[in-house]
Structure formats: C-alpha cells, structure tokens
Symmetry: C2
Subunit: 205 residues, 2 copies
Amino acid sequence: MASQAADGPETAVASRRSKITPEREREFFDAVLDQIRESGYEAVTMEGVAASTRCSKSTLYRQWRSKPQFVVAALRASRRTRFAGIDTGSLAGDLRQVARAAGEWSGKDTRLLQALGNAILQDAELKKALREALVEPEVDALREMLRRAVERGEVAPDNPALEHVPAQIFGVLRIRPLLEGEYADPDYMVRFVEACVLPALGLAP
Amino acid sequence: MASQAADGPETAVASRRSKITPEREREFFDAVLDQIRESGYEAVTMEGVAASTRCSKSTLYRQWRSKPQFVVAALRASRRTRFAGIDTGSLAGDLRQVARAAGEWSGKDTRLLQALGNAILQDAELKKALREALVEPEVDALREMLRRAVERGEVAPDNPALEHVPAQIFGVLRIRPLLEGEYADPDYMVRFVEACVLPALGLAP
DNA sequence: GTGTACCGATACGGTCGAGTACCGGTACAC
DNA sequence: GTGTACCGGTACTCGACCGTATCGGTACAC
C-alpha cells in the first residue's frame, strides 16, 4: 500500500526512484513469505529477512513503513489465479483439474494460511490482503465454472450443493493436515471431488 | 503433563498438595483459553492470565513450568466429546444432530483453532494436545456413527464418500469464516449436510 | 568531476514479556 | 502454639525485536 503509487501501471517501487529492481523486490517478498511459512507471522523479524536477502534493515524500512505493511505488500504482490483458465467443457472435467491444481500448491498455500493464523484475526488489513491474494480469485474462478455448467444444463440452477462447492474444496484442503497429518495432494483431492463433490451435484463419476 | 501424577484418578493438582482447588484450576484454564481466543497464542501473557484470575504469576509458574506447558494442560483439561451419545437410529438423523451441535460451538472452537494458528506448527506438544482435545474425540464419534450405518445397511461399506465425512464437516466449519466472514451456525451446517454430505453417501434428504 | 540520493552496516533507545527471587501473610497439621 | 508449606505481590534479570539514527561508500545524472 505504501509502495503503490497512483501514477501508472508501472511497478510500485520504481516510481519512487528506488534502486530496488522489481526482481530484487520479488526476492524480499519471497523471503518474508518463506519465513512466515516456516516460523509463523509473529516470529518473523525484519532483521531475519534482511539477513537472508543480504540487505540492511534500513532498506526494508525505507521501502515499507512497518512489518505489517511489508507483509501486506508481499501478499498483494503474490496474488495468483491458478484456477482461472480451466475450461474442459464439462463440470466434472473442470473440477478434476481444480482438484489437481489445488493439490499441487496445497502445501505452500495451506501452510501460509495456517502460519498467518491469529495474525489475520488481529490485523484487518492483513486479512483483507490474504483474502484478495489467495482466496477470492480462486473462488471467483470456481463460481464461473459452476455458472457455465448451469448454463449448459449439466446442473439444475437450484441445486443446493452449488453454493457449497468452494467451501467443500477449500475446507478439505485446509483441514486435512489436522485430521491426517499431511497436506492434501492431487490424488487425494481428485478422489475427494469424485467421491463427494460430483455426487452432491448430481453428476455420476 | 507436569501436573499429572501416576498415582490415581484424582485431579492433577490435588496430588501435589497444592491449595488450588479443581474449580480454581478450571478458572485458570478458562481464562487462558479465552485470552488465546481473543488475542492469539503469542500475545497471551502469564501476567495477563494472573491479573484476570486475581492470582500471582508465581502461582502459575509453581503449578506449570512454562507458558507452553500451561496451555497444554488447559487444552488437555478441556477435552470434550460433543458428538458422542448421538444415536437417532438413522445416519441422516445422526448427521443432522452433528451439524447442529457443530454449529453451536463452531464460534468458540473454530476461533481457538485459528488463534493457535502457527503455534501448533512450532510446538509438537501443543499440536498433539489440541488434536486430542478438539479433534480426535469428535472424529472417533463420527466414525462410530458411520460404522453403525454401514452395519444397518444404510450405506454400502465401499462407498468412497465414507472416509471423507469428517473432512467435509470439519473442513466447512473451519473455512467458512475465511470465505464468508462469519462462523458456521447450526442452520448453515444442517443445510450443508443435507446438500452435500447425505447425497454423497447416497442418502436422499 | 561534482552533486545527489540511495545503499549496507551498525549502533542505539525503548518496549515488552518470560521466568526467577524474595517477601510477609496465612491456613492447616499435630 | 509451633512448624510447614503454599499463597499473592512485587521487584528483578535477561533477552528479543521494532523502529530510528548515523555514517561511509557508491552509482548515476548532467
């Protein structure tokens, strides 16, 4: 936020005549997110990030006013849409692809979600950034798939399972480490979609 | 752990000739869990707990060696089985009861789970205590219901949705705050069970 | 070549909380 | 009544980390 200027689509920091290249900025962001995944939000220190990227603490504080703002910037810059673009022609096919993709990045993203744990309960800005980076783009993409399926007549528009598809998929991703001690992998996610999501939508596997 | 003796089924602290009654101990545990829910594990201080229960920090450190061990003891003492005892005669009835019960305590327990966030990634003892207190008893009770249903012939023993029922229910509980901004309530949970869990098991609502 | 402005390094002030030590008071045992 | 052992209160040590200040070095502009 502090690093975003309203003067064009160029990268954030370049507009402040900083010598930090976008690639260098990416290194900072990757480093802080990695450390969050490893040690949790509270345990991450600006000194640790500075050390691991071989820059000085001053540099980080010059670009971002505080630790929360730094992390928020890192999250915003990591916004991704991994489900967008999936369109196999059938809902079952789409959801299998979603399951595979979700299983691929489950370890990294679920861990990040978990490691930010109580931090997002305390910091509304952080929570918003997390939702916009990791959750909303994917939910939107899922809803778009479901809309297409309804349009094609694969699923009745009033099927009550429709609204729960995102919760089913993200919920299982999130909870599996706690239930079974390991992150959800692509095979597991495909089995889950075929065993639970598709039948609830009235689609035979 | 430090407060558990192997000399009988009596309460932990009494065996150490402490003047802390079990009721008083319960106050300590409730206080620390409440503060965790409110501020997160890292932000909870022994001083804060002592102040809110009008005891001294010394007392807490006399009974429990450190903050992690204190929290672990509080979790162990809060072990509950809210699903055990549900037996309506049909799986659909059982799962509706489960949904209602889960919706009731969802706010408190989901919040606790979230607030312990990254702490359980760092402290294996804490993670174990949390699983044993909040997760395993309920999962066991669920599995027992499903076993009875299979025995009654309501569900085919090889139905692939069987193994995913706990993940579906706990997953949705856990993820809803992030997706929709509010905890799952009993009505929502019942709708979810009827729209997704029962159909996947081949049971018409 | 000179100025400017950012870089890395380091040192510093301030805050906060874990865990310890010590104190006087008091309840209970015998 | 005397001893023992725990209680609450407070003061303390110690370490960690946020955020600031300062300084010499250096790349780029012109």
